[in-house]
């Protein structure tokens, strides 16, 4: 196990590259889903307001 983690002396390079990849992938998921949720909330608010004014 330790030998695996040491990556033949390249530990800091290999693990930082894979770690950063994980961060970028997770960030892509989180940002896309947050954006989707906030767009939905904002537009729902807009629809609710429009329905209160019947002239629309």
């Amino acid at each position: 196990m330790t030998e695996f983690l040491e990556m033949g002396g390249y530990a800091k390079y290999v693990w930082s590259a894979f770690g950063l990849t994980l961060v970028v992938l997770v960030a892509n998921i989180v940002v896309a889903q947050q954006q989707f949720r906030s767009v939905r909330t904002r537009l729902a608010q807009r629809w609710a307001n429009q329905q209160q004014s019947p002239d629309l």
Partner: protein, 253 residues
């Protein structure tokens, strides 16, 4: 076939289809990326020259691949939008840009992390690295240009022109390692008939590339949904799509 194509052009249909597909695509992508990572870090043997350091290829090459293929999608969708005035094509292009930029960033940084132990430097101003950096700036330019317009139609058209012009950079990135002398090694994978990499090293890389592609499509699906909602905000179907968030469900038709 045509009805299918026609349906795909209808915003509410695309919105629902993307919503159904996105979680599946994302999970398949996560499984493939996990399998590829295990194969790359554990099962593949160390390289005879680079030892375990070569394993960075399993995240670097797929990121670099995505940085270019997402750009190709973005530019193609932009062209389709301009030529056939397809609003959904513009939505696909706009939704692709941030994902493409993030993979370009990842390709550059993992490349630097790989370069340090192998070449003795994080960065050289050679053709491959410089053209990839320019790709990142083109993505930023595209997003910045979009953000500068308040009207989405104007943003679509202006940014589409930029995306199409930026295509000239793609062959430069791809052939840079052949055209110029560089520290960057030549491609390992694109010559599948005569690969310069053994099968037990190659398969995790291919699994990673497929996984990254599905990952992009999954993120694209969610981002396109946001784009479509915003663009169609006055359409009746949007009110129905937001039904669950509206007070007393007053929109139910």
């Amino acid at each position: 076939m045509w009805t299918w194509f026609h349906k795909l052009g209808s915003p509410p249909h695309l919105y629902r289809l993307a919503g159904k597909l996105a979680p599946w695509l994302l999970w398949i992508a996560i499984v493939l990326i996990a399998v590829g990572t295990y194969g790359g870090l554990v099962l593949a043997p160390p390289d005879y020259q680079q030892g375990d350091g070569f394993r960075i290829i399993y995240v670097h090459a797929p990121s670099a691949w995505m940085s270019m293929s997402i750009y190709t999608v973005m530019a193609t969708a932009s062209a389709i939008g301009l030529i056939w005035r397809m609003k959904l094509a513009f939505a696909v292009a706009a939704a692709s840009a941030p994902v493409g930029a993030s993979f370009t960033f990842l390709a550059l940084v993992t490349g630097a992390i790989w370069g340090q132990p192998m070449w003795g430097t994080w960065w050289v101003w050679d053709a491959r690295l410089t053209s990839e950096l320019i790709l990142l700036f083109v993505y930023f330019g595209y997003m910045g240009l979009r953000a500068a317009f308040s009207e989405v139609q104007k943003a679509d058209r202006a940014s589409a022109v930029l995306a199409i012009v930026g295509v000239v950079n793609l062959p430069i990135i791809h052939y840079s390692v052949v055209w110029w002398n560089t520290l960057h090694q030549v491609s390992t994978v694109t010559k599948l008939d005569n690969p310069s990499i053994s099968m037990d090293m190659l398969w995790p890389l291919l699994v990673m590339i497929v996984g990254f592609n599905l990952f992009y499509i999954a993120i694209l699906a969610t981002r396109v949904r946001s784009e479509v909602l915003g663009r169609e905000r006055n359409a009746r179907w949007v009110g129905e799509a937001l039904d669950d968030l509206l007070p007393e469900n007053r929109v139910t038709a």
